[in-house]
């Protein structure tokens, strides 16, 4: 079984070596690879690289199996490294350096026909060097990894427990008190476990996010007024975190807090445009009214792109575009969409019969 090992890439070959038994080593020449594709990781499955191979040449040395009904091999990255490895492998396959460079060392194959293993001398020398280097720098790492593994075992227990509680909650359907729900959610928040019942990462109702929402209302009042009453969530994220310096908010913290603004009756609200762009507006801000003044501006100039409008009015291009799109949606503007860009004109179809 070839399920626990290390994958090595050279200019000529892809080599796999068993983690425990270093004499167990298999390789495939890069020239045998037609193309490679990635398979993303999913629940219960690790990220993979699939290498599609040419049919074996007649002089191929014996390998781990006599034959296969498949014309590809799958490399499963159980721990990490798939992204970087895919990149490097793609490079080597593209560059085809094996065509220019003759292999410097001859490969001695000590074949054990029973087990089908090959020991390659050149590889062992390289590995020894790597091993020594690793030993120097990795003493600390291995302790850290050990401690990390132990820590993860405990974290895993927490995850199991939370699943069990969540199941109980589901079964009881409302016999759990609100106080208990709030407590449970805050435990999930601390551990970074997604709410097993609703699947959202504590979308609503944790104390932390309520407090955060109130804080945000305080912090953002003036910046919003300075920016015409509206800011994109991205701008808010940067503004708030730059001001904090430490103990920054995660993007999810910000979104979850903003979702609570309206229900907490705070003077700001979260709005999501059709495009998916998310903004914070002052309650007093009325985007639809702003559209009227946008129409005036566009009419004065004849026509405007989002870039031009943004510069004139002193807005970010992102929000300028959203305003023009909204004006279009309301029928006040119409578009001219060409390769030179998206340009908006007053909708004369509406105003002139």
């Amino acid at each position: 079984k070839f399920d626990c090992g290390v994958l090595l890439l050279s200019t000529h070959r892809l080599i796999w070596r068993d983690q425990k038994n270093h004499e167990c080593c298999i390789a495939v020449p890069l020239s045998q690879i037609v193309f490679i594709e990635e398979q993303a990781a999913g629940i219960g499955k690790s990220a993979k690289i699939v290498a599609h191979l040419h049919p074996a040449p007649p002089n191929k040395e014996p390998g781990p199996f006599q034959s296969s009904k498949y014309s590809y091999i799958k490399l499963s990255f159980k721990e990490h490294g798939q992204i970087e490895f895919y990149r490097r492998l793609s490079e080597e396959i593209t560059q085809r350096r094996w065509e220019n460079m003759p292999t410097g060392q001859t490969m001695q194959a000590n074949k054990d026909p029973q087990a089908g293993r090959i020991r390659a001398v050149g590889i062992v020398g390289i590995e020894r060097k790597l091993e020594e280097k690793r030993k120097e720098t990795d003493k600390n790492i291995s302790e850290a990894f050990e401690d990390l593994s132990k820590l993860m075992e405990k974290a895993k227990e927490m995850v199991e427990l939370s699943k069990s509680i969540a199941n109980k909650i589901k079964e009881k359907q409302g016999d759990i008190t609100e106080d208990e729900t709030i407590r449970f959610k805050s435990y999930l928040l601390s551990m970074g476990i997604a709410n097993p019942v609703t699947r959202e990462t504590y979308g609503s109702g944790t104390q932390y996010h309520m407090q955060l929402a109130k804080q945000l209302a305080g912090i953002l009042q003036t910046p919003l007024e300075e920016r015409g009453g509206i800011m994109s969530l991205t701008e808010v994220y940067c503004l708030v975190n730059r001001a904090r310096g430490l103990e920054l908010l995660s993007p999810e913290d910000l979104v979850n807090a903003c979702k609570m603004l309206e229900s907490l009756k705070l003077p700001l609200r979260l709005r999501i445009f059709d495009s998916g762009v998310m903004v914070i507006e002052l309650q007093s801000h009325n985007e639809e009214e702003m559209v009227a003044s946008a129409l005036e501006t566009v009419s004065e100039k004849g026509s405007l792109t989002a870039d031009e409008f943004a510069k004139l009015v002193g807005m970010s291009v992102l929000l300028a575009k959203e305003r023009l799109l909204l004006a279009e949606k309301m029928g006040h503007l119409c578009r001219d969409d060409s390769v030179e860009g998206l340009r908006f004109y007053p909708n004369l179809f509406l105003t002139q019969s």
Binding site: E79, H80, T94, M158, E180, Y187, A194, R242, M315
Partner: protein, 243 residues
């Protein structure tokens, strides 16, 4: 009466488990503190270790970056590292958007972010950038990760890019540009379909048209112009980054 008894029992069971979880949480917090006191530096300094850490969390179903209020973030400082990186990524993308239409290679983003962080800052790997970007998506700003060649293009504007666009971007990645003929022969598409995709990229500012090219028109992706990579972000562009 029997039903009421069962209900009551059910409530007690949940309460017990919550109490148990609360206790275990306190214990876990202590374990994490101990781990942090020994290895917090390792996480700060070592990108490889960070990857291991992240992968192990993902395996057991824990997201250490979900909230700044989580234990992981508070005690290991991983949160601040990635959230700050998020701010830096947003700034670089905003500053360069007018050059590349909101598409940038992971390499260029990496270089520019490192420059912005200065010589004495912690090392940041491409894996770190990808994780930070995945978190930024939730802000509704159109951040996306597109696999091309052996690397990635990072999208930072809410422009709709479907499979057709992605495939053409991948084709263009080899030389930095693509032509209608190449699309037709590689992807076996009709001219109309190829033209629609290319025009969309032009409109979004992600592609530039070179009609002077010998033969037929070439559609270039500024995101892939290697000559532009080392160009500094100008003061005007830096202003754009902080609207």
């Amino acid at each position: 009466l029997l039903q009421a008894k069962y209900k009551e029992r059910g409530t007690v069971l949940a309460e017990d488990q919550l109490a148990q979880m609360s206790k275990q949480l306190d214990m876990f917090k202590t374990n994490l503190e101990e781990f942090a006191s020994k290895h917090k530096q390792e996480i700060r300094k070592n990108p490889e270790f960070r990857v291991q850490f992240q992968d192990m969390c993902a395996t057991i179903g824990v997201d250490p970056l979900a909230s700044g209020k989580g234990f992981w973030s508070e005690m290991l400082g991983v949160g601040d590292f990635y959230y700050e990186l998020g701010v830096q990524i947003i700034e670089v993308c905003l500053a360069l958007k007018h050059r590349n239409g909101g598409l940038i290679t992971l390499e260029e983003l990496h270089q520019q972010v490192l420059k912005g962080r200065g010589k004495f800052a912690q090392d940041v790997s491409q894996d770190d950038l990808l994780r930070a970007i995945k978190k930024l998506k939730v802000l509704g700003n159109g951040f996306g990760i597109i696999p091309v060649g052996g690397t990635y293009l990072i999208q930072s504007v809410p422009a709709e890019l479907n499979m057709d666009h992605t495939v053409v971007l991948q084709l263009a990645e080899k030389k930095g540009f693509v032509t209608v003929s190449e699309i037709r022969s590689s992807l076996k598409w009709e001219t109309e379909r190829a033209k629609q995709v290319l025009e969309h990229l032009l409109k979004e500012g992600m592609a530039w048209l070179d009609t002077q090219a010998p033969g037929e028109a070439q559609y270039w992706l500024p995101a892939l112009f290697t000559e532009l990579y080392s160009q500094e972000i100008t003061p005007e562009e830096a202003k754009e980054a902080i609207p």
